[in-house]
Point group: C2
DNA sequence: CGGAATCCGAACTGATACTG
DNA sequence: CAGTATCAGTTCGGATTCCG
């Protein structure tokens, strides 16, 4: 598990350590839509492997951005959700998505089927 | 140079390709303070090597987020600045910084000497 | 269902030396 | 000053197998 430094020069560096990498922002984004189970997340993000999904979720959990709830049933059920603090990142994520949409439009990049910042703003 | 895909499922993925990694957000952040020369950026971010600085700046330039201006002088002078589109990310970066600050405060992580979202909001 | 453990190549990053 | 080039280390990420 990636350990945070005890001291940072700039908040941006801390943010990169917390949500940097290929998957975390995407996971937070989808978990902000609502709580999700492990295999539900796998279906939502088909490109991610089980290993990476587990790993990234554990790091998010360890840093207090995601909550993991285990229901002691058979078959087992595990539900992931964002914490209050993780949810505070929502506006930033929407801003990122909007900006990404603008870029895609400007550059003629095709965007599919996923919620976009623009969708959100229309609600 | 990292090539973008021709199609994305989610804007978030595009954003990650554009500004993901260890350095790009940090560079955009500092360039938003004002135009900077190569060695000026190195002093601002002492941990970055020349190689990575060049590489990341070139990618940002290639994606249209940063502009590189060469003054044909001796000694050479090269100035980097954000493009209009790169600057559109400013509010998002400030949001990230603010969130990072909150996290640092909550967790008792020390933050030094760099501009923070909070500083910005007080202006 | 929701993982853990292992292996391995690819990608990222850094150190160092050199250059117009 | 503003880079290139080369080499080497480390980490990341994916494939596969196994498990309660």
């Amino acid at each position: 598990m990636k350990e945070l430094q005890s001291e940072y020069q700039c908040a941006i560096n801390l943010v990169i350590d917390l949500i940097g990498g290929k998957w975390k922002v995407l996971l937070l984004w989808h978990l902000n839509e609502g709580d999700k189970r492990f295999n539900e997340l796998r279906r939502t993000i088909p490109e991610i492997t089980k290993k990476m999904l587990t790993q990234q979720l554990r790091e998010l959990e360890g840093h207090g951005l995601v909550k993991r709830t285990v229901f002691e049933e058979v078959p087992p059920r595990v539900v992931y959700s964002t914490t209050d603090f993780g949810r505070k990142l929502q506006p930033v994520l929407y801003g990122m998505c909007q900006w990404g949409d603008d870029y895609a439009e400007k550059e003629g990049i095709q965007m599919n089927s996923c919620w976009t910042g623009r969708d959100f703003m229309q609600k």
